[in-house]
């Protein structure tokens, strides 16, 4: 393992974090609010990148895990008035259980079949939420009584710190032997198995880790927003946003996923005056990045040949 303090990417990240942490001095509460959401999305995208970039499993359903975390946390808070920390823990737990359930078929199928299984998981969750409307608020959404903080700056710093810590852990994991074995089994399952690595165990671990971070971030985002609805947490458009962010930022980089999310939220905001054209332009840019810079932003920065 190379000394990470010598890579330009490391210093670039430090610089970004420093700039981001002093940002509240200058910018308005509105921008802070946007960035706060972007940071939580960053965690979603990083968790997705671990599964997709390293384990090479197309997960169309990141929002299944996020939604489980968010809705569980929101419902126990609204129904039983448990403190936020307990709710977030329960939400995370629910996401991990969901991740294990989702991983069961994943260990048997791969490629498009796996992609479909994850897609179906999202659709089922979405339908169930609408059907059990008296518990979940249905299509109108769920209102959560508690919030993390009412101060925009405090929320901003919590989100930033959360993203940085999650990012560091995931990045560390991806560079550890676990990450390397995952990458190996993603590229050639049989060969990785022949080298004596337990592919199944590692994929399962990747799932649980991804579910842990997705659920945790989902549960925290609920307490930032104060509401949860299918449109903001579970809908496939949300999943698509996360996938676009991770691919645009650069796969197998973890950091890229976070950058991609911030870029995506920023772009959508800048283009807001364009009205309906905003989504169109963002998708066109994302498509161009996928077609011409398959290694994403980080790939452009480091100019490394595809490894």
């Amino acid at each position: 393992m190379r000394d990470i303090t010598k890579t330009p990417l490391f210093w670039f990240c430090i610089l970004c974090i420093v700039v981001a942490s002093v940002l509240p001095v200058w910018v308005s509460g509105y921008v802070l609010g946007l960035l706060t959401v972007a940071y939580y999305y960053g965690v979603f995208a990083m968790a997705w990148d671990l599964l997709f970039g390293f384990a090479n499993e197309v997960n169309f359903g990141p929002t299944f895990l996020i939604g489980l975390g968010a809705y569980t946390a929101g419902i126990v808070n609204g129904r039983y008035g448990l403190p936020i920390t307990v709710c977030v823990l329960l939400g995370t737990l629910a996401a991990i259980v969901g991740g294990l359930l989702l991983a069961l078929p994943a260990l048997r199928v791969s490629g498009p079949y796996f992609g479909l299984t994850t897609l179906v998981a999202v659709l089922i969750l979405q339908n169930l939420i609408v059907v059990f409307a008296d518990l979940t608020g249905g299509e109108i959404g769920l209102t959560v009584p508690d919030v993390i903080s009412i101060d925009a700056r405090a929320n901003y710093w919590i989100a930033l710190a959360f993203m940085v810590v999650c990012g560091a852990i995931l990045w560390g994991l991806s560079r550890s032997s676990v990450g390397l074995i995952l990458q190996a089994s993603g590229q050639d399952k049989v060969q990785a198995g022949a080298l004596g690595f337990n592919v199944t165990k590692h994929k399962l671990a990747a799932f649980v880790i991804s579910a842990f971070f997705s659920g945790l971030a989902g549960a925290m985002l609920v307490f930032y927003m104060g509401t949860a609805s299918v449109g903001t947490f579970i809908d496939l458009t949300v999943a698509v946003q996360i996938i676009i962010a991770a691919v645009m930022g650069g796969r197998r980089t973890i950091v890229g996923a976070a950058l991609g999310s911030i870029f995506l939220v920023g772009m959508t905001e800048v283009l807001r005056p364009m009205g309906e054209l905003a989504t169109l332009i963002v998708s066109v840019i994302a498509l161009l990045v996928v077609l011409f810079f398959p290694n994403g932003f980080i790939g452009m920065l480091t100019r490394k040949e595809p490894a």
Binding site: F52, N56, V58, L104, P105, R108, V109, G111, P112, Y113, G115, L116, T117, L119, V120, A121, L123, I124, N127, L128, V130, V131, Q187, L236, T237, V240, I243, I244, V247, E276, L277, T279, L280, S283, V284, A286, L287, V290, L291, P294, N295, P306
Partner: protein
Amino acid sequence: MLGLQIIVDGFAISALYALGATGFTLIFGVSGVLNLSHGAIMVSAAVGAWALHDLLAQNAYIGATFGVVLAMIVSLVTYGVIVRPIQVSRSIREEEKEIFILTATLLWGIILQEVIAYLFTNNAKSVVPIVDGVVSVLGVRIPANEIFTAIICWLVIGLLWLLVNRTPAGKAVLAASMNPKGVTLLGIELNWIYIAVWAIYGALAGIAGVLLGMFLGVSSYSVGPLTASAFSIVVLGGLGSVTGSLIAAYVVGYIETITAYLISPAYRFIPSLLLLVVVMYVRPYGLLGRR
């Protein structure tokens, strides 16, 4: 009478599902591409047909034809601009191309959806049916359009079968799906096969889209659900197996119709989704899949 109603309604919707899924499975079988802009191509066809009739005051036949042609054009553009460049790209690793094609076609679908929404709003549009009126069979009132839809769907599927199994061009396509290298060794240009298959796919998706527009109506919001339903039918039947897709289309179509009639339209999609999950656990490669 409810039973008969379910049988008739289910038959028409299943035929439509079958036609939509056939194109999807054809593309996968021949070129190994899962086209996630499938729903967008179907909606483009329906909106094209709608626009020609409602905005430009053409008759229903011209509208429908235009819709199908439009879908073929969009399909060829999808292949030429999105899929082909990724397949031949040298900066994307071979084992990652599948994932890139999935992502890129997904984005392309969103782009088409947004263009449609921008030009023609999100409102639901129904294409003017070619056949009008209601037929009464054994005391059940059936819209003539429903019968027309089922007939056209099966006619097109039948023609496709003849084309693939009984003509030299179709046999070349079949051969390409089995062994692309072998086909090139026989002096057949693989590229042209792919282009032809994408054009056929466009026509199938276009016909399905226009019929759907006449039957249920479409809006730009239908793009995602249409792709998802074609995807799930095809996987349920086994990727690349046309027969499997046809069976799966009927299974899904009837389960949905029965649920909608006997339980509640709100639960319509849940049983078929659950079935899909069960099949994934029990038979990971679908009903008639091969691997």
